[in-house]
């Protein structure tokens, strides 16, 4: 008896007990459906995060800091833990450090990280955001190479800025053009003024920064007793809007990029308070003429580790979000394992269903097994006939289960995007079905159903033909 004969025989037998076969298969369908949708949720989350890292260039970016940065200590929120970070030697980051970093093999670009809070004013509308200084050379990389509207600045000393689409929205402007129509905007757009991108590009914008005002600090004793407000003063600088950037991924962080991007030299010239980035606040004061953070971008993702090691040899501290991804991935592994375990439980229950069905089937077909043995069926062949039957249930269940899992995740995704997503957010794909998941699920289902068929098949093969032929 060849394998194809056994498969034909298995289908024949399963067809005869349609209801029972369908119910048993349904068990596997639900098991595989649960497993795949759970795991696809895990992989979907992981992919979304990884994509966000990629879109934000976090794999090629690293930050050279004057002090070691330990996110775990920051996240702990314990003052003692955080204070630990500020002990130890401080490496001074100056323009010569920037030049030295640019000379490191594998480094594409290096520049001091300067960002500070500003008020932005267009016409009479005002909002608060973060200004980030970028060299014009960053215009060759995503997403700066092609801003959604307009272009990136080309001169480090130009009075030009690239502004985030969302900041303009905060300024009550709904910017659109033919390619990005205002009508396509999700969420509530009431109270916003729809404008053509062309009318914003080239438009002057006021960037308002805050400086210490020594005059207000004079007569300090009296001022301290009856404070007339903080001892600061606002300074306004005028820029031209040359480009508008719109978020492409729901996970890309505006705060990471800054709501408004200004050329490096022009940004440095903006008067401001004595700290240049958030790391300054964490690291305490740094000496004048020094930076607390230098942004380094490597040429290739694969170079990141080796470049990092080269920089660390220079006695500098390097912080990279890619390192954090490793931690995040470890976290996902746990989530995946839990989700997978829940799905596996469903599949194991289904496997018990298969075993039960097969045992029932053998009890019913004892005489038939006896007859098959009497006409020359070997133990191996009879074992295989039942084995193949279990496998057929497994394969059918896996294929339909995948379909179910896919359908359920599509539906869930739709519901999440329609009902749960905050207004104005771009639709996201929560689930991901990579090819390894599809093939793995089929393979796992076959494996589990074969395991479930093992005992019944063995039992069928060892039936005593003389007894079986007497069986009713």
């Amino acid at each position: 008896m060849t394998l194809s004969d056994m498969v034909a025989l298995a289908f024949d037998n399963l067809r005869r007990t349609k209801l029972r076969t369908s119910l048993t298969t349904l068990g596997v369908v639900i098991g595989i459906g649960a497993l795949t949708s759970m795991v696809s949720f895990g992989t979907g989350m992981q992919r979304n995060i990884t994509d966000a890292f990629k879109q934000n260039d976090l794999f090629t970016s690293m930050f050279v800091t004057s002090r070691p940065i330990d996110l775990e200590k920051i996240a702990s929120g314990e003052p003692g833990e955080m204070a630990e970070m500020f002990k130890g030697p401080v490496s001074s980051l100056t323009d010569s450090t920037v030049l030295a970093l640019r000379a490191v093999d594998g480094v594409e670009i290096a520049f001091p990280e300067i960002s500070f809070p500003v008020k932005v004013r267009i016409d009479s509308n005002v909002t608060t955001t973060t200004l980030r200084a970028l060299p014009a050379a960053m215009g060759q990389f995503k997403p700066y190479d092609h801003p959604t509207f307009g272009s990136f600045f080309t001169d480090d000393s130009a009075q030009s800025v690239v502004i985030s689409w969302d900041v303009l929205k905060d300024l009550k402007l709904l910017v659109s053009d033919r390619k990005h129509p205002a009508s396509a905007e999700p969420g509530d757009t009431s109270g916003l003024r729809a404008v053509e991108a062309d009318s914003v590009l080239g438009h002057p914008i006021q960037v308002v920064s805050v400086v210490l005002d020594p005059s207000r600090m004079a007569g300090s004793m009296l001022g301290l007793l009856r404070p007339a407000g903080p001892p600061v003063r606002e300074v306004s600088t005028t820029f031209n809007v040359v480009g508008i950037l719109k978020r492409t991924s729901p996970f890309s962080e505006d705060e990471m990029r800054g709501g408004i991007l200004a050329p490096l030299r022009s940004a440095e010239a903006i008067p401001r308070l004595g700290f240049s980035s958030v790391f300054d606040l964490l690291g305490g004061r740094v000496e004048r003429g020094a930076y607390s953070t230098i942004y380094v971008r490597v040429k290739r993702i694969g170079d990141a580790q080796i470049v990092r090691e080269r920089i660390e040899k220079m006695g500098l501290h390097v912080f990279s979000f890619a390192d954090q991804l490793k931690e995040i991935r470890r976290g996902f592994l746990v989530v995946d394992a839990i989700l997978g375990a829940i799905g596996t439980i469903a599949l194991v229950v289904a496997a018990l269903g298969i075993a039960n069905t097969m045992v029932m089937s053998i009890l019913e077909r004892t005489r038939e097994i006896g007859i098959m043995k009497a006409i020359g069926g070997s133990e191996g062949e009879i074992k295989m006939i039942f084995f193949v039957e279990a496998a057929v249930i497994g394969v059918l269940g896996a294929l339909l289960g995948l379909l179910l899992g896919w359908g359920v995740t599509r539906a869930a995704n739709l519901v999440v995007n329609m009902k749960l997503l905050p207004e104005g957010e771009q639709a996201i794909n929560l689930f991901y079905f990579p090819i390894w998941l599809i093939l793995g699920a089929i393979g796992f289902a076959i494996l589990v159903s074969l395991a479930a068929g093992l005992y019944p098949a063995f039992r069928a093969a060892r039936i005593d033909p003389v007894e079986a032929l007497r069986h009713d």
Binding site: M1, T2, S4, D5, L9, R16, R367, E368, G370, I371, M372, K373, A374, I375, G376, G377, S378, E379, G380, E381, P465, V466, L469
Partner: protein
């Protein structure tokens, strides 16, 4: 030449703690082409003996040689091959698979016999024609008369070209006319094709009419008919 040589065969069953004797010290031979009947009352051990020759069961002691090979020393898979190719068994209760048609029942035996798929149907049809059942091939056992069902069983037993037919009360469930028809087919197979027949029956008349030799069994022992 002896096809079957049975030497001092005993068979005991364990029924709980009780040891039940089915056969004790049975010895006789069956020559190639012979038609031998084993006659005895119910419980005399004749079906047990037939099952031992058919390789469905194993003797507790003694040896049974079939075409020179000792069945008692064969592995389980060798016994399966013996049942498949060397002997064809026919039972009182026909033992057809109820959800398969006459043709499919014969085809199943051919499938075990590794007959190529495309040849199976034609071969099964010719086997069923041989037993005069060409008009009932697509009927299931429940739709066949006892005689017809037993013809299917004979066709199935012949599927893989056995040297011997082992018949266990083949007419036990049939009326006398049908019994005669069935026995006619078996006699023809024996005389024309030279197939060896070993038949178990309690009907002395049938045994006397059709067989060359009769072996009498009583309480698991041969009382008459064994070679001197």
């Amino acid at each position: 030449m002896q096809l079957v040589e049975i030497r001092d065969v005993s068979k005991f069953y364990e029924r709980g703690k009780l040891k039940v004797k089915a056969l004790e010290g049975v010895s006789f031979d069956v020559a190639q082409g012979d038609f031998v009947s084993i006659v005895g009352r119910s419980g005399s051990g004749k079906s047990t003996l037939l099952n031992l020759v058919g390789g469905l069961d194993r003797a507790t002691s003694g040896c049974i040689a079939f075409a020179g090979k000792d069945l008692t020393e064969m592995s389980r898979s060798e016994l399966a091959l013996h049942r498949r190719f060397s002997v064809g068994m026919v039972f009182q209760s026909f033992n057809l698979i109820p959800h398969r048609t006459a043709l499919e029942n014969v085809i199943l035996a051919l499938t075990f016999g590794r007959v190529p798929r495309r040849e199976r149907k034609a071969k099964a049809e010719s086997l069923l024609s041989l037993v005069g059942l060409e008009h009932r091939m697509d009927h299931k056992p429940a739709e066949l008369s006892g005689g017809e069902a037993q013809r299917v069983a004979i066709a199935r037993a012949l599927a893989n070209g056995p040297v011997a037919l082992l018949l266990d009360e083949p007419t036990g469930n049939l009326d006398s006319t049908t019994s005669q028809e069935i026995m006619g087919i078996i006699e023809r197979l024996n005389s024309e094709s030279g197939i060896t027949v070993l038949m178990v029956t309690h009907e002395q008349d049938i045994a006397r009419t059709f067989s060359d030799r009769i072996v009498h069994l009583k309480d698991g022992r041969v009382t008459e008919g064994a070679p001197a």
